[in-house]
């Protein structure tokens, strides 16, 4: 081959290769499909379409939320920045036409025209079967139900074809809200039973692969790890018919590409981008970026109080004075979070959670406290974080490490792989760590029950135990159930004050959930589960 021929063939090849890359001719049908379709890109996708399944991941919750109905749901109110925000205290019927709360039970009347995706009517026995399933399958769903004192199948009583009663085991303010979370979804019991087996009486294998609900959308195609396609259910009665006909949800692992897809206008919505990207997109103004605080959620630094040196409250306070709060806000979060520090000295404690504490970065005070505690020369320890959220955790820990070194605490950073993080938390041996906790149910006593109570749940990561704290938390829970506002208020203020003077965990900030979308997308709503609700969305 002569040099000239070679070059010719190479350039010919290049030209040939470039041809199919030309923008394809857009037919009108194609454009129509586009305008009625919502294209979502995110990093991860569901591993199970049923929230009752074994180990269903968070993206799976989004599918369940949109493809199944619950008896009741929350009303909307206007939240921060004018974004619709779920109203913690107001409920509306979804499958229930009407519901009546009595002293020790609640009765639901079902909508008579409600149908499952296969056309079967939604009846009281489907409701009972579904709720029985939620409290019986074990794992996360059963646990979530128990948070609202829903633990026994006997609690769910069929009155007639379209009436169901839920009996309370005890008075619990969280029972009604717990019926509006994702877990108590209503499933097509006849269809699932047909596909259940002796080994799998609840038909989990069947509902893992397909949706069997009455919700506004149904999954028509699911390729795990690649895409989920959902079509609108034209007969939905849970609310006004959604405007989006089809939802295509593609998994794009690379954050940079998700941003490129948004900026080029190819994708409609994305979340899970680095904070820096969100901040830049916000500044450029080409896209709508919604940032709302996690309800009942906090990123914190935790200390294991069972072992020295963090068993000494003076040391914990010293650490609280040595955290570079503002630097973390600026350099790690790019301002996309609510600060939870540096409240004015004279600010009274509120009956609310989360609320900022009064510590500030004050190295002199921190050094003095270290000396008082007998650690004038400091000590060595490790600070651990979950690698799954390394984007935030790693720079955060580096900043903390740098700051603690100034008061003599030498820290080594321990990066724990995501798969191992929960095991490590459960062991409760890490001396110093950072983590996020956020509760679905937005009540201070719910947060404190899980995170500070002496019954030492998984989330009491500090192994904190205090008789006084337990008394206040239990007091608030009892007062909430009976409606004793005065006691409730004192107890809530009491446990917040105690948590901040004893400071076993140091709140840093309330993180934001960030969603970026095209300007022509409207109807985004914030929900406690922080996933998308397609039902209210529209594309102009």
């Amino acid at each position: 081959m002569k040099r000239r021929d070679f070059l010719k063939s190479v350039s010919g090849l290049a030209a040939g290769a470039a041809l199919p890359a030309m923008p394809s001719v857009i037919s009108s049908a194609y454009a129509d499909a586009r305008s009625e379709t919502l294209l979502i890109v995110s990093e991860g996708g569901p591993n199970n379409l049923d929230i009752h399944g074994v180990g269903t991941n968070v993206p799976g919750y989004e599918v369940s939320w949109n493809c199944y109905d619950r008896l009741i749901s929350h009303e909307m109110k206007t939240g921060p920045g004018g974004v619709p925000y779920y109203d913690r205290d107001k409920f509306k019927g979804e499958l229930a036409e009407d519901f009546k709360i009595d002293d020790m039970s609640v009765t639901f009347k079902l909508k008579k025209n409600a149908k499952f995706h296969d056309g079967a009517p939604v009846t009281a026995k489907d409701v009972k079967w579904s709720l029985d399933r939620a409290v019986s399958v074990g794992g996360f769903p059963t646990f979530q139900m128990s948070a609202g004192s829903l633990t026994k199948p006997e609690q769910f009583v069929v009155i007639d074809d379209y009436t169901v009663r839920v009996d309370f085991l005890k008075k619990d303010k969280l029972t009604i809200p717990d019926l509006a979370v994702i877990v108590p979804c209503i499933i097509n019991s006849e269809l699932v039973k047909k596909n259940a087996s002796e080994k799998d009486p609840w038909g989990l294998e069947f509902t893992k692969q397909q949706t069997a609900g009455s919700g506004a959308y149904k999954v028509t195609k699911w390729t795990a790890g690649t895409e989920v396609v959902m079509e609108r259910n034209e007969d939905w009665v849970g609310g006004p018919l959604p405007k989006i006909k089809r939802v295509i949800w593609r998994m794009v692992p690379q954050a940079g590409n998700r941003r490129a897809l948004l900026e080029r206008g190819d994708a409609d919505i994305s979340y899970e981008l680095p904070f820096k990207d969100f901040q830049e997109m916000k500044a450029s103004g080409k896209l709508n970026v919604v940032s709302l605080p996690f309800s009942n959620g906090i990123q914190y630094i935790g200390m294991n109080v069972t072992k020295p040196p963090f068993d000494n409250p003076k040391v914990r306070q010293a650490v609280a004075y040595a955290i570079p709060y503002q630097k973390i806000m600026d350099a790690v979060m790019f301002g996309l979070a609510n600060p939870m520090f540096g409240a004015p000295k004279d600010k009274p404690t509120e009956v609310a959670w989360p609320q900022p504490h009064k510590y500030n970065t004050d190295m002199e005070k921190a050094k003095a406290l270290m000396a008082e505690a007998g650690y004038a020369n400091g000590f060595e320890t490790t600070i651990s974080f979950d690698l799954n959220f390394a984007g935030v955790n790693e720079p955060l820990c580096v900043l903390v490490q740098e700051s603690l070194a100034q008061i003599g605490i030498k820290t080594t950073i321990n990066k724990v792989p995501g798969a191992n993080w929960r095991t490590e938390l459960n062991k409760k041996e890490m001396p110093l760590f950072t983590n996020v906790f956020s509760g679905w149910l937005d009540y201070p006593e719910y947060f404190f029950y899980w995170c500070y109570h002496g019954n030492n749940s998984v989330f009491n990561t500090m192994s904190y135990k205090s008789a006084e704290m337990d008394k206040l938390i239990d007091g608030a829970r009892a007062a909430a159930a009976t409606g004793d506002t005065a006691t409730y208020d004192t107890d809530v203020k009491g446990f917040v004050d105690l948590a901040y003077s004893d400071i076993p965990r140091i709140p840093l900030y309330q993180p934001f959930v960030n969603v970026a979308m095209q300007k022509n997308i409207s109807g985004y709503q914030y929900w406690f589960h922080r996933r998308l609700d397609y039902r209210a969305m529209a594309k102009v």
């Binding site: 470039a18 890359a21 074994v54 269903t56 690379q254 490129a260 897809l261 995501g418 191992n420 929960r422």
Partner: protein, 337 residues
Amino acid sequence: MLTMIGKRLMFAIPSLIGVVIVTFLLTRALPGDPAAYFAGPAATKEAVEQIRKKLGLDKPLIEQFFRYTNDLAHGDFGNSLTTGQPVAAEIRNRLPASAELTLLGLIVSVVIAIPLGVLAATRPGSWVDHLCRVTTTAGVSLPVFFTGLVLVYVFYFRLGWSPAPLGRLDVFYSAPPAVTGFYLIDTLIARDFEAFRSACSQLILPATTLAIFSLAPIARMTRASMLAVLSSEFVRTARASGLSPATVIVTYAFRNAMLPVITTLSMVFSFLLGANVLVEKVFAWPGIGSYAVEALISSDFAPVQGFVLTMAVMYVLLNLVIDILYGVIDPRVRLEG
């Protein structure tokens, strides 16, 4: 020939058994507790135990192993927990995606690298030689994800020539009925030319990324082995006999220089197939590499074992094919088991 193939396959069996045992033990040695991972963020200790039981992880290791081999013998690779699907089905769906991409990347690479290597060898020290050296060094020095991102940035984000990096097909086309699993072939079988065009344009950037990366070993190996052959005596004889330079280079030298190139090719191919994880990540390609890495991150045993086993089988088969090719190219190579 057939006995040779049979013999070779027989010899592969012990290594496959070894692979099964080693991957089983290695995945068990991974840090992390799958039961705790899949029990979800809010799980109690009892919930974790329940899940452990459901997954059969409470049984002694040896029992787990026998159960695993028994399932394997029945063609059951187990279920992936992260995607919720049977591993065998997933690998069957994902392998063609990776293979199509890798093959195309390799073809592009070969088409550029071999002529480049041959030209560089025939004119050592000339500009072609330098060009060859510079491009190959640059190609192999740039990390694949970086090349991929740069290509996406330039051709998709800036110029808009290339379609969105959203996997194998544009979102609004549906996949052709699976015959070979290769979209380029399946779309043609289905006579769906628009989908063919879409599949083709989705392939260009990732295949180019892979090609750039694999240029170096192929071009360098071609050059080195051509240089060795060109300085040998039979080439001098051919030249002295007055044969045209083209005949000397193509018929005599190139054919003799092919053997090491073929070996390199096979190595590059198998390496790319498993190692193009980053390219798959960048282009949201539903391939086998990203699948295995996802599984590894979440301590999901079954897909990791399935992946390693599949790769082992592929290596065995590939080596066999290469050995057969040797015999075809150079009859002097004796095939013995």
